[in-house]
Amino acid sequence: MRWRAILLICLMLLIATQAEVQAYTDPGSGTLIWQMLVAASVGLLFYLRRIILWARGLFGKAAAHDATAIEDDIKDGIKKSMEAGIKSK
């Protein structure tokens, strides 16, 4: 009996959050929130990249130089595959 009540409440909550309020909607909020969430995770990536570079730096200047060279290679690779993608279409 209690489980049925809980199930019913869950269902109602699910429906409640899916309800579309027509008046004074705030369109564009979804896109903005998503941009902010992605920005936050990309921000973490920024620090991660720096840590990797710093760690590589510990193994000597040559290694750090390699790290940036590797990064550039990756970027070029991405650019080239994008261009190839464009040409093949």
């Binding site: 409640a16 959050t17 899916q18 309800a19 579309e20 309020v21 909607t25 705030d26 369109p27 564009g28 909020s29 979804g30 896109t31 903005l32 929130i33 998503w34 941009q35 902010m36 969430l37 992605v38 920005a39 990309v42 921000g43 990536l45 920024f46 620090y47 994008m82 993608g85 464009i86 279409k89």
Partner: protein, 494 residues
């Protein structure tokens, strides 16, 4: 955000009003932008930037000159101007080069919208490296000079704080460029249906409703449609419950400007990839895309004769500006453009308009193709129907020659427009020449259109056609294509 438009009604006229930084003023044939002094710093920062020089050199930015003191005073001396704008004490005036033929995103083919999107992202990518950015991202900031896009809204440029990691106009970019392109590509809805009545484009929620369950999870739609919809609903629900929902609009400053830059560049990279996924299909087909290859009713000889006739007319008339009605894949537009004319080519099928545009780009010809149906042309849109001028408004009396090849029988039969009306409109559009192909009712293509209702057109003969022509034109030259029911006319306006 500024809506660039051609003049409707009296001049001088204020052509924009949304941007607090300034207003666009149309005086006769000249375009001025009145910039408020407090917005001048952003504009000057842009004009001093490398981005400005780079894009100016590319021809991707409209020419701009500051008016000197004397000219500015002269302008504000006019009572009509002071009535619209006050005494001009708190503003500075720049003049823009006028783009020959204004056009709007609901008239473009998808390839042109895609191209305008690329230009916007190119600008943004270049601007962020200099601490600048775009305030808005809308196709109304772009006009086409022939087949080349040119950015026209000088007040879209702003200085950005170094610690700002978000692009506020990203959502607008998605609404006006990405989502319409996606919906056009996946659901086949034409751009005029999506953009004519919607100033600010499509919301993710609207596109979400169109998608099937699995489509919502596909890469093209997941991050641009589904996730924003789900997050938007959650945010909505929070707001309805009374929790703080305006917090997301507070500007967040990051401590590290490099990090902010990194995040921004990652965003622009993601937008570019999303745009790639929304690219219009290369080999799109429509009822009309194979028309020229199918050679309906034209033998080689006939087609040659038609080409020769048009070429001769071009050489004779040397039109500076030409309108090609029913351009199809643009064969005759290219003919005219190679002869030095500035061409506007219209056809109601957006697929062939896209083809025409691609070829014009490849051959670097001055052809502006638009998806416009002359029997139901683009209306005036916007606030009071005065922001974006109607097609006929922009076109009347602007062309030295008009081509109507193998098109009037469609207007006569399918659209049931009387011949006298068609020729009267042609007389309004052209300043001088009209090259028209008349197809008589016994032609097989004509009969295919009438579908059994030949009786409606039984009085249409070459003679009756010529009689109607003579109301507004003199017949300079006629050529009957041998063994066909087709005549080519070169008409001159009386």
């Amino acid at each position: 955000m500024v809506n660039e438009s051609a003049a409707t009604g009296e001049s001088p006229r204020l052509a924009s009003f949304r941007d607090p930084a300034g207003r666009l003023l149309a005086v006769e044939d000249r375009i001025f932008r009145v910039v408020r002094r407090d917005a001048l710093a952003d504009l000057q920062a842009f004009l001093a930037s490398k981005t400005y020089k780079k894009f100016q050199a590319r021809g991707a930015l409209v020419q701009t000159t500051f008016l000197d003191e004397a000219a500015s005073r002269d302008l504000f001396a006019k009572p009509e101007i002071t009535r619209l704008l006050g005494d001009g004490e708190d503003c500075v005036v720049v003049e823009h080069e006028r783009v020959a033929f204004a056009s709007f995103p609901y008239e473009w083919s998808p390839q042109m919208l895609y191209n305008a999107a690329e230009l916007t992202l190119d600008f943004m990518a270049s601007l962020v490296t200099e601490g600048l950015g775009l305030k808005d991202a809308t196709p109304y900031n772009v006009l086409f000079r022939g087949a080349q896009p040119v950015f026209v809204d000088l007040l879209s440029f702003e200085r950005r704080a170094a610690d700002d990691s978000l692009w506020a106009a990203c959502a607008q970019f998605e609404r006006l460029f990405l989502l319409p392109l996606l919906v056009n590509k996946h659901f086949g809805v034409a751009l005029d249906q999506l953009l004519m009545t919607r100033r600010d484009g499509l919301e993710p929620e609207e596109v979400y409703k169109l998608c099937g369950f699995w489509q919502r999870l596909s890469p093209a739609f997941l991050t641009k449609v589904s996730i924003p919809t789900w997050l938007g609903r959650r945010h909505q629900a929070k707001g309805a419950k009374g929790e703080d929902d305006a917090g997301i609009y507070q500007r967040q400053a990051l401590a590290n400007p490099d990090k902010a830059r990194f995040i921004l560049e990652s965003l622009l990279g993601r937008l570019r990839r999303a745009l790639e996924r929304a690219r219009p299909r290369r080999a799109a087909r429509s009822t009309w895309s194979d028309y020229l290859d199918a050679n309906n009713n034209y033998t080689q000889a006939h087609f040659q004769a038609k080409e020769t006739f048009v070429e001769q007319a071009m050489r004779e008339m040397q039109p500076a500006r030409l309108l090609d009605v029913g351009c199809n894949t643009g064969h005759f537009s290219r003919l005219a453009a190679r002869g030095g004319a500035s061409v506007v080519a219209i056809d109601y099928d957006p697929v062939v308009v896209g083809e025409t545009w691609k070829q014009a780009r490849q051959e670097k010809l001055d052809i502006l193709p638009l998806a416009v149906n002359l029997t139901r042309p683009t209306p005036a849109t916007g606030w009071r129907n005065q922001e974006c001028a109607a097609f006929l408004e922009r076109a009347r009396g602007r062309f030295d020659a008009v081509l109507m090849l193998a098109v009037i029988h469609h207007m006569l039969v399918t659209e049931r427009v009387p011949l006298a009306e068609i020729l009267e409109l042609a007389a309004e559009l052209t300043r001088d020449a009209l090259i028209v192909e008349f197809i008589a009712p016994d032609d097989s293509m004509f009969r295919r259109l009438t579908r059994g209702r030949e009786r409606l057109h039984q009085d249409l003969t070459a003679e009756s056609f010529e009689a109607v022509c003579r109301r507004h034109f003199t017949i300079a030259r006629v050529q009957h294509l041998e063994n066909t029911s087709r005549w080519l006319y070169l008409l001159r306006k009386k």
